[in-house]
Amino acid sequence: MAADTLTAQDYISHHLTNLTLGFHPEHGLTFAHNAEEASAMGFWALHVDSLLWSFGLGYLAYRFMRGVAQKATAGVPTGSQNFLEWIVDFVNENVRGSFSAKNDMVAPLALTVFVWVFLMNLMDLIPVDLIPHGFAQLMSLFGADPHHVYMRVVPTTDPNITFGMSLSVFLLVLYYSFKIKGAAGFAAELTMQPFGKLGMPANLVLEGISLLSKPLSLSLRLFGNLYAGEMIFILIALMYGHNLLLDISGMTLQLAWAIFHILIITLQAFIFMVLTIVYLDMAHQHH
């Protein structure tokens, strides 16, 4: 890619722009042709690529799990059932370890989070140019300019996706905080500690920050890790096509980073799941 007329900067920004569908003030309902147009669309725009990959992977995971669940037997499990039971056991163990209250929603929620986030992260291991370049070539067949066709395949490098999930978790935290502790109990938790009645404003500030930091840190941790990982893959991809030495070092680096990244994507999916469980557990704590 770096060999043609694109500059390195263009290449990177091309990779970091989503396929955005929205209302442009001048062009109406259309796909954004560049990052500026995408920004100009404001809030009422969709990142079609992020959503498609996110839904597609989620649906794939759901189909697989549903298929196995329908045929699940109490006898000796085989193949896919073994695999799913292994994951379910792993998730269930974590839920039982961190979540002390009784809520039938938490374990399936944790399973969904873990599997879905892991699959979305896994897209990071696909060579960075493979799908975007292929998609651009495909679209050029329909008359589109391949340089302005965007495709980001890793949904978790899109803050919309990570915030979407962390805000959902945050809403659940708020819902259960109100439900379990009651409005007064929740308010007391936010204002009566750690300094007691006299330090009420300070308490509110501290507890408010700690509460709000939950969804923020949850999504930004995942986003940051995956965004940085993708960026490094893109930078490594820039090394190709200059000379043999750079090609070889690029291949070595890409392999090393990919192997290291297997750990990161699994770890980030795991952390997202565990923190979801822990936050929900805190929401269920009665004082």
């Binding site: 929205g22 992020s50 959503l51 699940a72 374990a107 919309n160 996706i161 999930m165």
Partner: protein, 156 residues
């Protein structure tokens, strides 16, 4: 890197996937796992019970064997006793029989002796009469001197 509608759509999708997972994936899997756990527990309990029953059976067998041995010993000792009894009885019978035969023999011998003595006496009396006849040179009427002859015979 714009925050836009994608966020809300993702939130909805998240909710939908969690709901589906909660309704259609988690319960069947957990049910299968729990059923298997119950099955395994049942199997282990059955094995434990079987073991206990086997132990109990072994104990019972030992008891039965012990009892049988006791019975056999009793029977043997009874038989021994009975054998001794029979032996004693037989001995007693034999002794009594011997005694009886001996008494009978004695009686017979006595009788024989008496008869022989009687015969001897008669013969002696006849001899004496014959001798007296010869001595007296005259005929003695046996009937007339019966008393004499008999007293004579008695003196023999």
């Amino acid at each position: 890197m714009n925050i836009n509608l994608t966020l809300l759509v993702q939130m909805i999708a998240f909710g939908v996937f969690v709901a589906f997972c909660m309704k259609y994936v988690w319960p069947p899997i957990m049910k299968a796992l729990e059923e298997r756990t119950a099955k395994i527990a049942e199997g282990l309990a059955a094995a434990e019970r079987g073991k206990e029953e086997q132990e109990l059976g072994e104990q019972r067998a030992l008891e039965v064997m012990k009892e049988a041995k006791g019975n056999a010993a009793d029977i043997v000792s009874q038989a021994q006793k009975r054998y001794n009894e029979i032996l004693d009885e037989a001995k007693r019978d034999a002794t009594a029989e011997a005694e009886r035969i001996r008494t009978a023999a004695h009686a017979e011998i006595e009788q024989e002796t008496n008869r022989a003595r009687e015969e001897l006496r008669e013969r002696m009396a006849q001899l004496a009469v014959a001798a007296a006849e010869k001595i007296l040179q005259k005929e003695v009427d046996a009937n007339a001197h019966k008393d004499l002859v008999e007293s004579f015979a008695k003196q023999i």
